[in-house]
């Protein structure tokens, strides 16, 4: 039972320094990805200043207004949804939910996976065996099915969705962290630290963690994208975050019944989702390219 990881980053230590930044600056994909992510983050933070409207305010007399290019008015540039809420406002506020889910779920997964992976890599032996076994078990669980089963049975909410996604997606962190730690463990500066009597925790925190940070970033971006995608899928099946929260996945789900005749309701949040995921993936790929140029 080998642990298989689709996009495991090659296990080479980070190379920072001036070369790193120059390569990063020249990497078009990374720059495009970072720009889009930065824009989405800015939107999430500045949402209340970008629109004067309330994402929850419903006006049942103004339902399903088309966006401006479809003959709508500038009052609602992206039209309104099936409860007459301003779609642009919901889209802007929705970036908060999608980012929150991506970041929080990646954090949960990252915490579990990193702790397990580093522990396994650093201590080796039986601990390593146990962790590898745990990873195999985790990989054998069908993520989508398991997440759906839990959420459908206990009921979805923002916290439940984040927790479930986090608990089901720590494997990649663990795998990458384990192999990275294995490689770093016996490097000179780590052995040196050990020989001067540094504690294990201290070595892990001060010597090992910073040196595998770039790989952590790569995995974190992938997992963030994965979490956002999974939340969208859960919401699409009606099991994600709860209305009236404006998550992009939920917006697609709520627009689903208008797909054939008011397709913008699905197309707009769907495109936003696609762009954000694309950007996050580009950042992940970019960081990988820049830190390990031959390992795409």
């Amino acid at each position: 039972m080998t642990v298989q990881v689709a996009n495991a980053a090659p296990a080479t230590a980070a190379k920072s320094g001036p070369g790193f930044w120059r390569r990063a600056w020249r990497h078009r994909g990374l720059m495009i990805g970072l720009t889009i992510v930065a824009v989405v983050v800015a939107i999430a933070i500045l949402a209340p200043f970008l629109t004067g409207k309330d994402p929850y305010y419903q006006d049942l007399l103004k339902r399903l207004k088309p966006p401006v290019w479809g003959g709508g008015s500038w009052d609602n540039p992206l039209g309104t949804d099936n409860l007459g809420r301003d779609y642009l406002t919901r889209l802007l506020y929705g970036s908060r939910i999608s980012l929150l889910i991506g970041i929080a779920a990646a954090l949960v997964a990252g915490l579990i996976g990193t702790v397990l992976g580093i522990t396994a890599g650093y201590f080796g032996g039986r601990i390593d065996l146990a962790v590898t076994f745990l990873i195999s078990v985790r990989l054998s669980m069908p993520v989508v099915l398991a997440a759906l089963a839990v959420v459908s049975l206990i009921g979805g909410s923002l916290v439940v969705v984040i927790a479930v996604i986090g608990f089901l997606n720590w494997d990649r962190f663990a795998v990458v962290m384990r192999s990275a730690t294995l490689q770093v463990r016996d490097l000179d500066y780590v052995t040196a630290a050990r020989s001067v009597g540094c504690s294990n925790t201290r070595i892990l925190l001060t010597e090992i963690l910073p040196n595998i940070a770039s790989q952590l970033i790569v995995v974190a971006t992938l997992e963030m994208a994965h979490a956002i995608l999974l939340e969208a899928a859960l919401s699409f099946l009606g099991l994600g975050v709860k209305p009236p929260l404006p998550s992009w996945g939920l917006m697609v789900a709520e627009g689903k019944n208008h797909l054939l005749f008011e397709p913008w309701l699905v197309a707009i949040p769907g495109s936003a989702l696609f762009l954000l995921l694309l950007a996050i993936n580009l950042v992940g790929d970019g960081v990988r390219d820049v830190t390990a140029p031959d390992g795409r």
């Binding site: 049942l60 339902r63 399903l64 409860l83 979805g156 709860k242 209305p243 689903k256 054939l260 005749f261």
Partner: protein
Amino acid sequence: MAIRSIRQGGTAIAAAALVALATGSAWAGKKDDTLNIGWSRVVESNDVYFNQGVREGMIVGRLLWDNLVERNPTTGQYEPLLATSYKWVNETTLDLELRQGVKFHNGAAFTAEDVVYTLNWTSNPDNKVAVPIMVNWIKNAEKLGDYSVRINLKQPFPAALEYLNAAIPIYPHEYYAKVGTKGMSEAPVGTGPYTASNVQPGRTITLTKNPNYIVGGPKGTPTIGKIVQRTIAEEQTQVAELLSGRLDWMWNATPDTADNLRKRPNLTVVDGETMRIGFISFNANGTGGANPMQDIRVRKAVAHAIDREGITKALIRGSARVIPSACYPTQFGCAQDIPQYAYDPAKAKALLAEAGFANGLDIDLFGYLDRPHTEAIMNQLRQVGIRPNLQWLQFGPMFAAMQQGKAPFTHLTTGAWSINDVSITLRGSFAGGPWDIARDQQVIDLVLGADKIVDQAKRADLYKQVLTRINEQVYWLPLNTYYITYAFTSELDFTPHPDEVARFYQSKWK
């Protein structure tokens, strides 16, 4: 790129040739006399007694089986079907003469044995039919002759004929005893106007015209040769099928979809009445621990906070209207002139403040069916300071949560099993049974009392008292009626009925 991928996909599949699949299928509608119908709800069993009153199951049931009597949807009269005549011997004894010469699809002759077996077996609590209130008024049935039976009731039950008409089909006794409910679901055998083939419960069923069907019966003679039903989960997929002509009939189109379908030249879109009503049920009794809804002022605040008229007009539209009482207006005993709560957010806020929630409250709202509607209600409740946390569940878990008192209030609907008598709702939800979460002894006594009264005027009066008390105490907040939008090919002559049972045996090609 997409086109290229598809071509490659096609080659890939053709090359793989993994599973031998029949190619070329018949999707032609009128041309080859096949009516393709689709719906999203999964019917768990074709055995009518073992699906939870799912309307789609009843539709298939009416095609496969016959009831003893059939209510004429136009005149409201009970016409003879498998029974040719009936007579009340006394308040608890009903005698029926049966139709002779009727054959089941498997060739077995229909006799009194089948009626006796079906009624006795289904009304026996040990056999656990899915909707016991449908048959639990029957004490037993006995055979009086080859073609005459007697039904003994546990107590006077004036709505008996309505129940016999709606959901008590007669099964072939030897076959049912042999194959059981599973066998009946997978290979249904009845006397009905259509016979079943290619049955995959929950997925598809093919129905073929029964050439030996009863002549001159109230259901008429079927004309469409073949009906193919498919279960399609997503509404928009159904619409896509309909637009591409591969589906001839669908129902439950949402109002917005319906408006768009109306613009299509080859489709007929009809809004049909239904007996379905929407309401909010409150946990006023405090089962499962204290909750704010035990305070009548909070329940009244909810009633005043919801603009029932506005939501019904904007969201549900069509023929939907606000209802004053917890029942469908045409149902027997459904009184209309009882206390009401006007839309008045200021009053709602005042009531909340009085109840100690001046700063509003956070509370779980459960729901399962009509999500945009539920969300619209939530948004209005937010305006007065009630911040609902939506618990969106499937019917089963939702109902369980309600019963265990986990749900302070729940947005529900009921179709009253298409029974045109308010007793069905009140006996189910307010008679102290397992579905009763109000558990108000005064209401329970009234409902149980009404059950035993044969004088219709007195019975109606008792039901009015019950409905009045329900409104005064806000156990239920009645919201609105619904309607169902049917969309079908213009080649089809189809008439919807308010009991939500699509009678395909009466449909024709134009």
